[in-house]
């Protein structure tokens, strides 16, 4: 619908409305002037109010007669009308993008449009843009680009047409699966077309570019190969884990087994036989060698690991406690730069009186973590230089990370 018609109609409607309103006012005045009782006045007022309504109705009718659709439809029609110039603008922009001009903010516009109906067009355009972006600026072959632009516009138009046809065939509001599917198909088609074009263009590219493309492809292939190797390794590992769980005898010896043996034999010869309660490779935790000390040997083992020249576990990575209900446990993760190896040192404590020597004399970094374990679990580290409730504060009641913790609040 043209704007002129619209305007004229609006004017006419406005005039009619004004007329009706004036009439109603006049009537109301006359009635008031006649000094009617209150109840009647109210009625008159209501009448007066009813009149503009009628006027509005009349206006609507007039509009309907003028060939215009009811409001809901009108909106739809308007949107459609709006979509047309939009599509045109899109096509224009596409051409621009091809010519290497990328105005800022276009991306945003593109996104919005992509959300609208000509999704396929947007896709094709974006691809075109990406291609334009890949090319070094100096290498503008006008003819080639023009051709590409034309082809792309065609693809976009095709996709758009398809989308439109789909839209036209179905009644309004029936955005059903079929339509979506069709749209998706159109999108895919356009994308495929664009890709094909891109390939052709790649074929046409001068040598430098081809090299770049090749390099990229090579890098991708390399990455893919690496991925394959990785997945294979992972699969192997998984099966290994499963087998070890099922049969309880690891079919594959962990690469860290020799290091664990070395550490264990060193500990046993220096700290004493039976210093370790247990030692194993923790398959779940990246095959880390795990040592379980008893509370009496914990400190001496730690000291040995720290100062032994071959082992040299100079770095304490982590220390924390866990309440396992049957017992408390301290987990220490140590690292040796010399061996390039981590080790987990664990110790089980009596849950009711969890007491253990502090590791601060060996690693200063154990200071705060031990405070944290004391604060949240109530584990006492003796000979700790400054054991305090580091996070919760000294007036906190109870140890929150214990499994039987009951929150205490003075006000409850």
């Amino acid at each position: 619908m043209s704007e002129k018609e619209d305007l004229a109609k609006q004017k006419a409607a406005a005039a009619a409305k004004a007329k009706a309103a004036a009439l109603a006012k006049k009537q109301a005045k006359e009635e008031e002037a006649a000094e009617k009782p209150e109840g009647e006045t109210d009625a008159a007022k209501q009448k007066a109010a009813a009149k503009p309504k009628a006027a509005a109705l009349a206006r609507k009718q007039a509009k309907a007669e003028a060939g215009e659709k009811p409001e809901g439809e009108t909106d739809a029609a308007k949107q459609k009308a709006a979509a047309k110039p939009k599509a045109a603008a899109l096509a224009r922009k596409q051409a621009k993008a091809e010519a290497g001009e990328k105005p800022e903010g276009e991306t945003d516009a593109a996104k919005q449009k992509a959300a609208a109906k000509p999704k396929a067009a947007a896709l094709a355009r974006k691809q075109a843009k990406a291609e334009a972006g890949e090319k070094p600026e100096g290498e503008t072959d006008a003819a080639k680009q023009k051709a590409a632009a034309a082809a792309k516009a065609k693809a976009a138009a095709l996709a758009r047409k398809q989308a439109k046809e789909e839209a036209a065939e179905k009644p309004e509001g029936e955005m059903d699966i079929a339509k979506q599917k069709a749209a998706a198909a159109a999108k895919a088609k356009a994308a495929a077309l664009a890709r094909k074009q891109a390939k052709e263009e790649a074929g046409e590219k001068p040598e430098g570019e081809i090299d770049a493309v090749k390099q990229k492809a090579a890098a991708k292939a390399k990455a893919a190969a690496a991925a394959k190797a990785k997945s294979a390794a992972a699969a192997k590992k998984r099966t290994a884990v499963q087998e070890s769980e099922e049969a309880d005898t690891p079919s594959e010896i962990s690469p860290n087994q020799s290091k664990l043996d070395q550490i264990v034999s060193a500990i046993e010869s220096h700290v004493g036989q039976g210093a370790l309660l247990e030692n194993y490779i923790n398959r779940l935790s990246k095959d880390v060698p795990t040592l379980v000390a008893n509370p009496d040997t914990y400190f001496s083992i730690a000291k040995f690991l720290r100062y032994d020249e071959q082992l040299d576990f100079s770095y304490l990575s982590e220390l924390h406690g866990t309440d396992f209900e049957s017992h408390m446990e301290i987990y220490v993760h140590l690292h040796s730069f010399k061996m390039n190896q981590s080790v987990a040192l664990k110790v089980k404590l009596d849950r009711d009186t969890p007491v253990i020597p502090s590791l601060v004399p060996l690693w200063s970094g154990a200071n705060w973590p031990e405070c944290e374990a004391y604060d949240l679990l109530g584990i006492n580290f003796y000979e700790h230089p400054d054991l305090k409730r580091i996070l919760l504060g000294e007036d906190w009641k109870g140890y929150p990370l214990r499994k039987d913790y009951e929150p205490y609040d003075v006000e409850v």
């Binding site: 991306t107 996104k111 992509a114 896709l123 974006k126 843009k129 990406a130 972006g133 990229k216 890098a219 991708k220 390399k222 990455a223 893919a224 690496a226 991925a227 990785k230 997945s231 992972a234 699969a235 590992k237 998984r238 884990v241 769980e245 923790n282 779940l284 935790s285 990246k286 880390v288 100079s314 770095y315 304490l316 990575s317 982590e318 924390h320 866990t322 309440d323 396992f324 987990y331 993760h333 730069f337 390039n340 987990a344 690693w363 200063s364 970094g365 154990a366 200071n367 705060w368 973590p369 944290e372 949240l376 580091i390 996070l391 919760l392 504060g393 929150p400 990370l401």
Partner: protein, 365 residues
């Protein structure tokens, strides 16, 4: 004869230079700090306790709130721990998206550090530059995840959803831009005589002390320890990229500055390579809806912008962890502060504290 008395001074808990809630009780004799006692815990939210009643996927948003300047690495460390225990194989595309997101986060985090550190020691304008560039990264990550800082983007087995269509192209565009800006930063600040005099030789510790105090990240590398978990214990797909681990020998605030600035460059290298190799494919592995981790325990550690972030899970084979523990690098790195401040001039307090690069959300857990 002039007699001075020892004075007790509270720095914080609301002090602008801590960028969080951190209190430092210091005893000073004139201008000289005799003793400094950090008081932390103002931001303790009990993440580990809360996690014991949550399913693994539900814990991910909580990790965003630990180190809120580099939430992607926090997301990753939890997912990585669960995946390690379950033996999940992550789709290629997801790994690349994760690495790109994490490295962008690292650059953003270092930018925040750079801007605020200089602001703390008296240079106002670098802050504006840093936040301009950081905002671009934040926008990129917003497009990717839907959130500015608390991304909640990673999932066990991959990532929440694929990147928007032209996102990778935007990241590729950002890299050269950031390089250019970085050169500008160096021109603006790195050679500045006032700045150099302010930070050079301040807050020195040795390699042995750094190891003794369990420091990690740039705080460790500034003493000459070439240690970066991305290189030394490669996780994800970091073994596919060529990048260096910047180190310095001096162990002062200036060397930490250099390490972080060079790390930005290395991260950009990684992003560049990841963008080039970016593959097609799914972004989420086939994992059960309800994730159950096999019975046992695991501790994994990765390299966050602040150092070594770790995650320990003890599982009973249920859908919630029996115990979850985060090794939070800021918490460990901050321990050395009292030692560094002892005998220092009052004016160096902020220079030393700022150079550690802490995030209080992470310190307090």
């Amino acid at each position: 004869m002039l007699r001075t008395e020892e004075m007790l001074l509270n720095v914080g808990p609301q002090h602008p230079s801590t960028h969080g809630v951190f209190r430092l009780v210091i005893k000073i004799d004139g201008e000289i700090i005799k003793e400094a006692t950090p008081v932390i815990g103002y931001l303790h939210r009990g993440t580990e306790k809360l996690a014991e009643n949550l399913q693994y996927t539900q814990i991910i948003p909580y990790t965003d709130r630990l180190d809120y300047l580099a939430a992607m690495t926090n997301n990753y460390v939890l997912c990585h721990a669960v995946e390690t225990m379950m033996g999940v194989e992550i789709p290629e595309r997801a790994e690349y998206l994760r690495v790109i997101a994490m490295e962008l986060g690292r650059v953003a985090s270092h930018l925040v550090w750079w801007g605020t550190y200089l602001l703390d020691i008296g240079a106002t304008s670098p802050f504006l530059y840093a936040f301009r560039e950081r905002e671009m990264i934040v926008n990129l990550l917003t497009e990717l995840s839907g959130a500015r800082l608390t991304f909640n983007y990673m999932r066990v087995g991959g990532v929440k959803w694929d990147a928007p269509e032209d996102w990778i192209a935007k990241v590729a565009e950002f890299v050269p831009y950031m390089r250019e800006q970085l050169a500008g930063y160096h021109e603006l600040v790195t050679g500045n005589e006032i700045f150099v005099n302010r930070v050079k030789g301040v807050g020195i510790y040795s390699k042995e002390e750094a190891l003794q105090y369990s420091l990690s990240g740039a705080n460790l590398r500034c003493t000459g320890v070439k240690w970066d978990l991305r290189k030394n214990e490669p996780y994800s797909i970091y073994d596919r990229f060529t990048f260096d681990v910047p180190t310095r020998e001096e162990g002062d605030a200036f060397s930490r500055y250099h390490c972080r600035m060079e790390e930005i460059e290395e991260s950009l290298k990684i992003i560049e390579q990841a963008v080039e190799q970016f593959p097609e494919g799914p972004v989420l592995a086939k994992v059960p809806k309800i994730i159950k981790v096999p019975k046992g325990e695991a501790f994994v550690r990765i390299e966050s912008p602040r150092g070594e972030i770790g995650c320990y899970i003890a599982s009973e084979g249920k859908k919630e962890p029996y115990r979850l523990k985060f090794r939070r690098p800021s918490f460990y790195n901050l321990q050395i502060l009292p030692k560094l401040l002892e005998g220092e001039n009052m004016a160096n307090l902020i220079t030393i504290l700022g150079a550690i690069d802490i995030v209080l959300g992470e310190v307090d857990g």
